[in-house]
């Protein structure tokens, strides 16, 4: 049996003021290699990872019972700065975990805290950058990096501490496929070096083949599980190819957005159209202009040139980080607000209740939305956005941080909307979602929109762009 790097025995943890425990009677052992942590939103995955590096309970407070040993230290009592030299944690959001503005100094931040001599710091920074093959980023400003590059920088910052255990909390949820692949490949390399790598992820497909151990976290309880069981949990693809009824929206020769790297508008000469009842997926790497296109179509961003036409009726728009829009005291109040704003509705309470049920939020209807887990919050924002009968639905990365159940709810909601004639446009990095829901896929590359042939794989951003081609609904 491989040596144990982390061992938890009978650990139960309550957040401050929270009645049910976030973790309940957890017994587990983690050795070297890759451990994948799966489970639904709000199940306790993030809490488990924070327990491994002492943030729970030392940063978050609350009550805890049981015992734990991680890398030879007691994470319940060892000061976090001391633990930080043995255990590293990479967070989900690449932007809110950066302290400094440049790559080299960001990687060195933890080493400065560990009061290492300057020469050793330089050695470790070199080593960490090399281990992730990002030496070329050394002098770059973080603001100029892609999401995948930034997440690898954060991983390098953790590796520079030479930890025995590295935990990553949904590290790819905000990344495009290329960035996700690079981060996960880095995780595998670290795991092969004999360290323990613990990754909490909803998108398990790319990790399952390499995982040494799989943990299922549901309702605060942790259990080992099998690959087969997890594979069954992966969302099944359904056939969906409705015929669009009529052109509902169109963009003709549209230039939009701020100046891109080439000094021109981010989007140039975009000509697209979508039908009522049709789902169009927008794909492309981070920074390719998907959000700009959605905002232009929504009327939030004026087109610099060209014509944008939307259908009569409400346009529903879900931004990235949709939880940010939530501000009312309960989930129910958020959903009802949208209905009331949309105009006279026959029964606001019933409609809101049905939408919350569709997203599995009924038991959370009275909760303050910002007290929910990130996945639950995402579902609450989706319910508050999609409720009613919007004529045009624009979704910007709707599956960020979503578990499988929530993805199914989203798919069902989109099907329901299209059956009622809504036109839907989804900007996404999630290839499964695009395959499952989209009638057409449009790839944005270097400011141009290119229709992806059915069954074809979207090309990479490095491919030279073809001429813009106006596309009409089928």
């Amino acid at each position: 049996m491989p040596r144990s790097i982390a061992r938890l025995e009978g650990v139960t943890y309550w957040y401050p003021g929270d009645a049910p425990p976030a973790l309940s009677a957890v017994d587990l052992e983690i050795g070297p290699g890759l451990t994948v942590v799966a489970g639904g939103s709000g199940g306790g995955k993030s809490t488990l990872l924070r327990l491994l590096d002492g943030l729970v309970p030392q940063f978050h407070g609350g009550r805890i019972a049981g015992s734990a040993t991680v890398a030879g230290l007691d994470p319940l009592r060892t000061p976090i700065p001391q633990l930080a030299q043995r255990v590293g944690l990479v967070f989900q959001d690449v932007e809110t975990q950066s302290v400094y503005g440049t790559v080299e100094r960001e990687v060195a931040f933890g080493l400065e805290n560990a009061t290492l001599p300057r020469t050793e710091m330089h050695e470790r920074v070199d080593e960490a950058l090399a281990s992730l093959s990002i030496e070329h980023l050394r002098g770059r400003r973080l603001a100029t990096l892609s999401g995948g590059e930034r997440q690898r920088v954060q991983l390098a910052a953790v590796l520079a501490m030479r930890p025995a255990l590295v935990a990553l909390d949904e590290p790819t949820s905000q990344l495009d496929p290329e960035g996700s692949e690079a981060v996960l490949a880095a995780c595998l390399r670290i795991a092969r070096d004999g360290r323990a790598v613990v990754v909490a992820e909803h998108r398990l497909e790319s990790l399952l083949a390499s995982a040494d151990r799989l943990l299922q976290v549901e309702g605060g309880r942790v259990s080992g599980t099998t690959e087969a069981a997890l594979r069954r949990a992966v969302v099944s693809r359904t056939s969906h190819s409705p015929e669009p009824l009529e052109a509902a929206w169109e963009m003709i020769g549209v230039d939009a957005g701020p100046a891109g790297p080439r000094g021109a508008a981010l989007l140039e000469g975009i000509s697209l159209a979508g039908g009522a009842g049709e789902v169009v997926a927008l794909v492309g790497p981070n920074g390719s202009g998907k959000t700009t296109l959605l905002r232009t179509l929504a009327g939030l961003l004026p087109a610099l040139m060209g014509t944008v036409r939307r259908p009569a009726g409400r346009t529903a728009y879900l931004p990235q980080n949709p939880g940010a829009l939530l501000h009312l005291p309960s989930v129910r109040a958020e959903v009802e607000l949208t209905l009331r704003r949309a105009g006279p509705a026959p029964d606001v309470t019933a409609s809101a209740g049905a939408m919350m049920a569709a997203f599995g939020l009924t038991h959370l209807a009275g909760r303050y939305p910002r007290d929910l887990s990130s996945g639950e919050r995402q579902r609450a924002a989706l319910a508050a956005t999609l409720v009613g009968s919007p004529a045009l639905v624009l979704l910007d990365e709707p599956t960020r941080g979503m578990d499988l159940a929530a993805r199914r709810s989203l798919a069902a909601a989109v099907h329901s909307l299209t059956e009622r004639g809504s036109a839907v446009v989804i900007a996404t990095h999630d290839a499964d979602l695009a395959t499952e829901l989209a009638d057409r896929t449009i790839e944005l590359r270097v400011g141009r929109a290119i229709e992806v042939e059915p069954g074809a794989t979207p090309q990479t951003a490095a491919t030279p762009p073809a001429a813009a081609t106006p596309q009409a609904p089928r």
Partner: protein, 277 residues
């Protein structure tokens, strides 16, 4: 220039700007700081947000003073005297003094602007003396969150607008501002958590970068400290360096030594910006 030189220069320029009410000296400090900022501004950094903030700050200062201070011999207009606080004479003198206060704000803001617009966050940390290093990190991280604040504001106002929200009076903005503020607080907590997880808050830290110091740094520090010392010395010696335009407006006095002190602050603006960076 060394980050520590920037810090000393900024502190000296702020000291001069707030140690006198004389608009001539304040104006000279503002011009010197603006010249320095434009000389050293890295490519890609935008001046427009700062310029907008400066104009708003100066205009508000002038407006508040002219509405609230009814002293002065030259009456420009009158508001009904039964209007609380603002009712009464609006005078040329109060407008001049309000503009002077605004100019002081502009000078002070331009003096500290290089700390966020020229230096990187880690430079600010490096510039701080040991005991204030954590303060430097707090400043550096808060500067990092500023850009996120703007993005959140755009995202939330977009989303609320699409849910039917329209700006109708001050209270309606709570639907945008409350989520933005809550998100900013959450982001701050997440950042604090990330910093803690990386060992921040332990014993005194070491620094990754070696301290650089050149003759240019010595010259800039000497000029900046000399300028600040000049103004403080004049004030301690009781030599009039202020300007108070009540009850009758008059031209501000000018002392050549103090003008020279202000001009000394412009020294970094005449250095090649690449040096030492």
């Amino acid at each position: 220039m060394s980050p520590r030189t920037w810090l000393i220069w900024s502190l000296a320029a702020v000291t001069v700007a707030v140690s006198t009410d004389n608009p001539v000296y304040r104006g000279l400090v503002a011009l010197a700081a603006l010249n320095v900022l434009l000389t050293w501004l890295p490519p890609g950094r935008r001046m427009k947000p700062l310029a907008v903030a400066l104009v708003i700050a100066a205009a508000l200062a002038a407006l508040i003073n002219v509405l609230a201070s009814h002293t002065g011999a030259d009456v420009l207009a009158r508001l009904p005297s039964d209007w609380p606080l603002v009712g009464g004479a609006l005078t040329l003198e109060s407008l001049a003094f309000g503009s002077d206060v605004g100019l002081g704000l502009v000078a002070a803001l331009l003096a500290v602007a290089p700390l966020s617009m020229v230096l990187e966050p880690h430079d600010v940390v490096d510039a701080m003396p040991g005991p204030l290093e954590r303060t430097g990190i707090a400043v550096a991280t808060s500067l990092n969150l500023v850009s996120g604040f703007g993005r959140t504001f755009t995202a939330v106002s977009d989303a609320q607008r699409m849910r039917g929200w329209r700006p109708r009076g001050i209270r309606s903005w709570s639907e945008v501002l409350v989520p933005v503020v809550l998100t900013a607080i959450e982001d701050s907590v997440l950042l604090a958590e990330a910093m803690e997880a990386r060992g921040f808050g332990a014993a005194r830290r070491t620094s990754y970068a070696a301290t650089r110091w050149s003759r240019v740094d010595s010259a800039v520090v000497a000029a900046a400290l000399g300028s600040a010392a000049l103004f403080i010395g004049f004030r301690l010696a009781g030599v009039a360096i202020d300007w108070y335009p009540y009850p009758i407006l008059y031209l501000p006095p000018i002392n050549p030594a103090l003008v020279a002190g202000c001009l000394a602050l412009a020294l970094p603006g005449f250095l090649p910006a690449e040096r030492g960076r």
